[in-house]
């Protein structure tokens, strides 16, 4: 059961990461980058590492995405 969960999550993660890079607008790239963070939190939780999962959830999907959104605002691009 865990083997199939790891396989499906990895496939989804690679597809979302590839879609995040080849977008034309910057705002879509940032939203799909948050999806990469979510997938990696699910994987850390399956590997039985709760401290690492909590840290990645708070920093990867919280502060790191906020930094990119603030860059979007200061660069003057339309959302």
């Amino acid at each position: 059961m865990t083997g199939i969960l790891i396989l499906v999550t990895f496939v989804g993660l690679v597809v979302i990461a590839f879609a995040s890079i080849i977008q034309k607008k910057l705002a879509d790239s940032i939203i799909l980058f948050m999806g990469v963070g979510l997938g990696s939190v699910i994987l850390f939780f399956t590997f039985k590492a709760p401290d690492v999962a909590l840290t990645e959830a708070v920093i990867g999907a919280g502060i790191s995405s906020l930094i990119f959104l603030m860059a979007l605002k200061h660069l003057g691009e339309r959302a």
Binding site: I21, L26, V52, T55, E56, L75
Partner: protein
């Protein structure tokens, strides 16, 4: 089919191939994209792939997380706590360096107004 996917060799193969594929997606973005913020995003994706590889290789199926729960008295049959501590440090430092890099990009845009790396040629003459 469920028993085939739960063997330790198959799980190690899936983790290795998956995280290396994510690493190469990030490397592809680093080499071909032209916008400065997308280059930083590709570097962050590469770092996430390495953390997944590190923790996924030390995963043993029947062991528990390294925290004492209610009914236990000893630290036996637990996962290794040293890789968890190292990855925790690495995640925080990666985020700090990314924040510094993005602030440099914002200041450069305020000075010259360029975000495409093909136009940043002021050091070439």
């Amino acid at each position: 089919m469920f028993e085939f996917f739960n063997q330790p060799e198959v799980i190690k193969t899936i983790v290795t191939i998956g995280s290396m594929a994510l690493f190469f997606v990030g490397l592809f973005g680093l080499l071909t994209q032209k916008h400065l913020i997308k280059i930083f995003m590709s570097i962050a994706i590469m770092e996430t792939a390495l953390f997944l590889l590190f923790i996924g290789l030390m995963y043993k199926k029947s062991f528990l997380a390294p925290i004492l729960s209610d009914g236990q008295t000893g630290f036996t049959n637990m996962n290794d706590p040293i890789p968890h501590a190292m990855i925790l440090t690495a995640i925080v430092i990666g985020m700090a360096v990314l924040a510094l890099g993005v602030s440099f990009a914002i200041e450069y845009y305020k000075l010259t107004g360029k975000t495409n790396i093909d136009e940043m040629t002021s050091l070439r003459h």
